[in-house]
Amino acid sequence: MSPIAHPATVDATLDLLERQDYIADRRLATAVFLSLRMARPLFLEGEAGVGKTEIAKVLAAGLGRRMVRLQCYEGLDTAAAVYEWNYPRQMIEIRLAEAAGGVERSELTHDIFTTRFLLKRPLLQALAPEDGIAPVLLIDELDRTDEPFEAYLLEVLSEYQVTIPELGSVRAQEPPIVVVTSNRTREIHDAIKRRCLYHWVDYPDARRELAIIRRKCPQAAESLAREVVAFTQRLRSMDLFKAPGIAETLDWAEALMALDRVALDPQTVADTLGVLLKYQDDLARLTPDVATVLVAEAKAEGIRL
């Protein structure tokens, strides 16, 4: 895989994303373009299922680079995120050295703390890639980790280097393309945001959502696609606890296709609603009467899309 040059304009960025089946709005494309041009991390925040993670995948594919993914979780530490020493191998090395005899202690320390015994975790892989090509580094759901890890990331994101006490600093030859995502289950510290370009990924409007469905589920009947989009757009305006994201819309369209439906009807909606809504309170609000009204409205609106 050889890297492809960064897009030169916002339009080129839009094209690049679209070639990978990602239909972005112009604001997102601008943010991506700026992030590539200015070599700054891109911080994407938004509700679950609006395509934040997908951006990183699409960028990696579009720019011909590897993607390195760091999934965040509570208690994420350097051993899981940056590097770990290969302890079993080190132990064997020590036993061997002892069996051979006559090894100086300082020399042994020097021998077992070398890159040979180093296990690279995502951050180090991204800063010191095997093939020498800077990858796309996806730091996914940063809000799931805790403040100490955020603080650690500051060095990585601003200097593109990590420090390993036994070895010294490792600095990236070419900084990786960094995408950070957050579902906003808590606020990320300003210090991190300051180093990044911030973009709030919103739900797509009806026109764009329809384009996405056409692209991602080409087998879906045109009428079904229109009705599905109109229906989910309605749901999002309904003040639900968790509105369905574009990922849910796609899942739903696929579910309806699997059931060989070419149009919505209240019964099918009731049967498949679990694909769209994941909270019992929200499901309870969509009584058969409400669903019937929504389906009728969706059919009327779908034609106008």
Binding site: D77, M91, R105, I112, D146, T185, R186, D281
Partner: protein
């Protein structure tokens, strides 16, 4: 006569100024006063800015004291008459309407300090009376039992000071992060490996790690409607104290609508913070719509604030204008979204309190703890109740449903 930085008059004034700052609560002792004099003599008094910075650099050692210093400096070193006018403005009832709108608003602490300074300067025979520590203590005892609603202005000031030192111990929860420990549960391979290198052939001791403990995030939902009005100021002081005491505290107030005041409370100076809160909140002492406010919280904030085993403190008297309509539904969602839901109710001070109003009956089944919050002693009890191990009654939701 040209001003001279060495004049004894100036030294007197600087010392006086330091004393005012000390009375207003800045930790400035006599040593600082000497430093201040030295600094003033070093920079001279030709330039006001130099003079100000010199004093500031010596007398202010924390960012949150800066505000108070700036105000004190402006008042003290600008216009000798200003202080008098200020004092006159503070006593509008006695002197009639002398206060004019141009006067800057002084924090009560500073005003108090200035008044004392003025009084002791005015009368030669009125010697400064050192407050007897024992007396202060006994006064505190009385205050601790007093209802917030029935306190005089001076008592309020003392309570504010006490609240400022109130710490809120939340139960600590184990997190997935670890620390080195002699009797840990997992082996620290990295440290053991270093030990092995050192041992070189001998038996290497195993090193261990154990899980760290951390306080969970705290979210305070405080009712500021008309019926809670007389507690509101006290509670805001309480909120300010706990917001600045620890990380991960979020404060929201509600009457008919919900306002997040966390950022406003973040200012270290309590008067500035409360000023900002007052201007940010639009529905002081109005009606209460607990259900609607909780619904808004659940929808807009719960997923952002209630992660990582958050504890929710709900401060309300439970008197709801909507008569509990839709309240049980929202309370259930709130209780399910957090690790622990504590309800603080000032009405609980009345021994004959019964859960009659519809709002209270709708809320009660979902709370983990139901505690009074009408005076300082009850706030201290709160600390104790929170320290107790959190437990959730398994049957709570089943019973409510």
């Amino acid at each position: 006569m040209t001003p001279d930085a060495r004049s004894p008059r100036l030294a007197e004034n600087v010392v006086h100024f330091v004393r005012i700052l000390r009375a207003a609560g800045l930790p400035v002792g006599p040593a600082r006063a000497l430093d201040a004099l030295a600094a003033v003599q070093a920079v001279g008094i030709e330039h006001r800015t130099d003079f100000r910075v010199a004093l500031c650099s010596v007398l202010v050692s924390r960012h949150d004291h800066l505000e108070l210093f700036e105000q004190a400096f402006d008042v003290f070193w600008r216009d000798p008459k200003l202080l008098e006018r200020m004092l006159a403005a503070l006593l509008p009832k006695i002197h009639g309407r002398v206060g004019d709108a141009q006067l800057p608003q002084l924090p009560a602490r500073l005003a108090q300090a200035l008044i004392h300074a003025q009084q002791s300067a005015d009368s030669d025979d009125a010697r400064e009376v050192e407050l007897d520590a024992a007396f202060t203590f006994s006064a505190r005892e009385v205050l601790q039992k007093k209802d917030f609603a029935t306190m005089t202005a001076e008592e309020l000031i003392e309570v504010h000071a006490m609240l400022a030192h109130l710490k809120l111990p939340l139960p600590q929860i184990a997190v997935r992060r670890t620390k080195a420990a002699a009797r840990g549960r997992t082996i620290d391979l990295r440290a053991t490996m270093r030990g092995m290198v050192g041992a070189a052939g001998a038996v290497a001791p195993l090193k261990f790690r154990t899980r760290r403990h951390q306080t969970p995030p705290l979210v305070v939902l405080c009712d500021i409607s008309g019926s809670m009005d007389r507690y509101a100021r006290m509670l805001l002081h309480f909120l300010h104290a706990i917001t600045n005491d620890r990380h991960r505290v979020h404060a929201l107030v509600f009457g008919t609508r919900l306002t997040n005041i966390t950022r406003h409370l973040k200012h270290r100076d309590v008067d500035v913070a409360l000023e900002r809160v007052t201007s940010a909140v639009a529905d002081w002492a109005g009606g209460t719509r607990i259900g609607a406010s909780l619904a808004e919280f659940n929808r807009k904030w719960s997923r952002r604030l209630l992660g990582q085993n958050a504890v929710v403190l709900l401060i309300s008297d439970g008197l709801d204008a909507d008569a509990g309509h839709g309240l049980d539904f929202e309370m259930e969602r709130l209780a399910k979204s957090c690790a622990r839901l504590v309800w603080l109710n000032p009405l609980l001070r009345y021994s004959g309190f019964e859960a009659r109003p519809a709002g209270i009956r709708a809320m009660l089944p979902y709370v983990d703890d139901f505690l009074p919050v009408h005076n300082l002693a009850s706030l201290k009890d709160l600390a104790g109740a929170l320290r107790a191990k959190p437990h959730r009654d398994e049957t709570m939701f089943a019973h409510a449903a």
